[in-house]
């Protein structure tokens, strides 16, 4: 018989071991799944996890895909630690893309060295402004920030649609809903020739480092933690819950907006109706996969990026259906959440009634 005993405090070993365990179990079950689908599991796992990383181009792609995920997730994680649930990073990303892209269009043909920095800052401002709406409504009217931020995502999408089908439409584009391609001076520099790795990746690393500093070394990080764990205690200590709500939403919004500006000035190079394949939502999964810890989030973002790229490679090389990617990501999350049991409980195996039988 198996019993679960609650641990007096959470297990630090399991806290860090469970993500590895979850990855291992996912790979194991993935291999079984591949075998049932009629594919050689070794081939499939090779195509999934090894082939995409086999050369410099592949590594570059990994960073391109992981950059927005990591950047958004570290911002969201700050809020999640404080029980501030910003679900609308996708909308904040969109606003960042609009602000950054708008600057690129406004200065089309007269790009100077200051344009790119201005676009990135503009993106942060745009994302932060969009996140300020749920922050204001929450602190002023106690409106649920989950709903407000989520709903604003759709508003942001429609705003982008309006701009690219209307005032910002490419005049030479035969009426198609997209802006002109940005000028060379509004495109992020490539770091490695022959890849698409752009300067956004080091920026994401900076965001990770800054978030780590906030979480581990600053009073602000401590306040976030206290507000998240026991709001009354935070009140006694004189920490302002309202300030934490504002700060975490603004930081999360700014980072999502920065990610949006980076996407349009990096790999996309123009504004189109669909600039993100749901990075703002995937980042929520990434944040939890990374245990809300900045370094964990970076690793989780790379893993999540690999699961997408590996899925494409497996489709091309082996003809695996795209749904397998979704199943894979689902299993990963499932095992991670399921293995949380090990963090909070001790598992004991006992022979039931062994003494009496003897």
């Amino acid at each position: 018989m198996i019993t679960l005993d609650r641990r007096p405090e959470t297990s630090h070993i399991w806290l860090y071991a469970t993500p590895l365990l979850a990855v291992f179990l996912t790979v194991l079950c993935g291999a079984i799944l591949f075998a049932f689908l009629g594919f050689d599991p070794a081939d499939a796992l090779h195509a999934y996890f090894i082939l995409p990383l086999a050369d410099q181009y592949g590594l570059g792609e990994l960073t391109v895909k992981a950059t927005p995920l990591a950047m958004i997730a570290v911002g969201l994680a700050l809020g999640f630690r404080a029980n501030v649930w910003n679900i609308g990073a996708e909308g904040q990303l969109t606003l960042g893309a609009i602000f950054g892209g708008g600057l690129a269009l406004a200065f089309y043909g007269q790009e100077g060295p200051l344009l790119l920095p201005a676009m990135l800052i503009g993106g942060m401002v745009g994302g932060a402004l969009w996140a300020a709406i749920p922050a204001f409504l929450r602190t002023r009217f106690n409106a649920n920030e989950i709903l407000v931020s989520l709903m604003l995502t759709y508003v942001a999408g429609l705003l982008l649609s309006y701009l690219v089908t209307g005032p910002w439409k490419d005049p030479m584009g035969f009426g198609f809903p997209q802006t002109r391609l940005f000028g060379e001076g509004a495109i992020l520099p490539i770091l490695l020739d022959g890849t698409r790795m752009h300067i956004g990746f080091p920026l994401a690393l900076v965001a990770v480092a800054a978030a780590w500093f906030i979480v581990s070394r600053s009073l602000f990080g401590f306040q976030i933690k206290v507000v998240g764990l026991t709001p009354p205690a935070a009140g006694y200590a004189g920490f302002s819950g309202r300030r934490i709500i504002w700060a975490t939403l603004m930081i999360g919004g700014a980072l999502a907006g920065l990610a949006g500006a980076i996407e349009v000035s990096g790999p996309i190079g123009q504004l189109t109706p669909s600039i993100s394949p749901g990075y703002g939502f995937t980042a929520i999964i990434v944040a939890f996969l990374g245990r809300l810890h900045p370094v964990g989030i970076l690793l989780a973002a790379l893993l999540m990026a690999l699961s997408y790229i590996g899925g494409e490679t497996a489709q091309i090389e082996l003809g695996l259906p795209v749904a397998v990617t979704g199943v894979f990501q689902g299993m990963l999350l499932f095992f991670l959440l399921a293995s949380d049991v090990l963090v909070h409980f001790r598992v004991r195996f006992r022979l039931r009634g062994a003494g009496r039988a003897a």
């Binding site: 198609f176 698409r196 996309i268 109706p273 993100s276 790229i309 490679t313």
Partner: protein
Amino acid sequence: MIKLTRRSFSAMTLAAGAAAALPARAADPFKVGFVYVGPIGDHGWSYQHDQGRLAIEAEFGDKVETSYVESVPEGADAERVITQLARSGHKLIFTTSFGYMNPTAKVAKNFPDVMFEHATGFTRASNLATYAARFYEGRYVAGILAGHVSKTNKVGYIASIPIPEVIRGINAFTLSARKINPAIEVTPIWVNSWYDPGKEADSAKALIDQGADIILQHTDSPAPVQTAEERGVWSVGQASDMAKFGPKSHMTAIIDDWAPYYVERTRQAMAGSWTSGDIWGGFDTGMVKMGDYNSALPEAAVAEAKAAHDAISAGTLHPFTGPIKNQAGETVVADGATLDDGELLGMNWYVEGVNGKVPS
């Protein structure tokens, strides 16, 4: 030495003609790649492109190897997928959605010895061709049926993304429907997506609630046909024959048949005679076809629809022949005049009888 690099291989094919390179090719299957915007299970747009891919396999057997990647988002991911196909030895790559245009053009620049085909775009290069089908011809035929059977004089039109192709379809449909029944009004709802069964079904419900007794769709899932079937109104299948999703409601379908084009272009690419260009095929090339007509439709309506199909196919009828009025009631195409392809390609205005404004 047999081991040729991709670049020298294609240079040889071009320079020395196909004969010299044939032996090398027999050993190595010619790889053709496809990028789809939806799942191939959409039973619409992507499904039909995949039928074209299967036709290539059926035609050339083990001389070809085809791959596809489905549900590729239009954006930063598309460039990677197209690059991966080019890097993994695919010589001919079909990218089958408008949003892949700039990514395809970027990759084509990096892989001058790979041939690219982009559906529904306008950017071309020496190794990047474009192709599209004149779906509006099918819309015109569907409009004739609608003009005959609508009782409420209201048609709901589930539109995807406001590009000229979709607007052209709305206009072609409205023109022919109103020739039969001048009281008909067409109301589009824009769902801003090519494939979103939930939104498509919701839009169909909303339109039916507003009194529409015919639902047209320029989106890729069969959800609108299913909704129309449930609510007992007419529908028209999109991209593939969707009759099985609404046996009573499905009037006909506007079918895209990419197979002949894909087979032909693959044949040319293998023979080294592929050149870039632009194809806009309609009924005459078989790229657009009508599905079977529902047996519950009035005979006169079907006969008239078939006659229009034959006339368009023969070139004696053009859907955009004047007089055509815009929404303000002004004549924009004079009696007997016809819009040329350039005007059709950039169409961003509605004809009289369409409700609402072109999103802008």
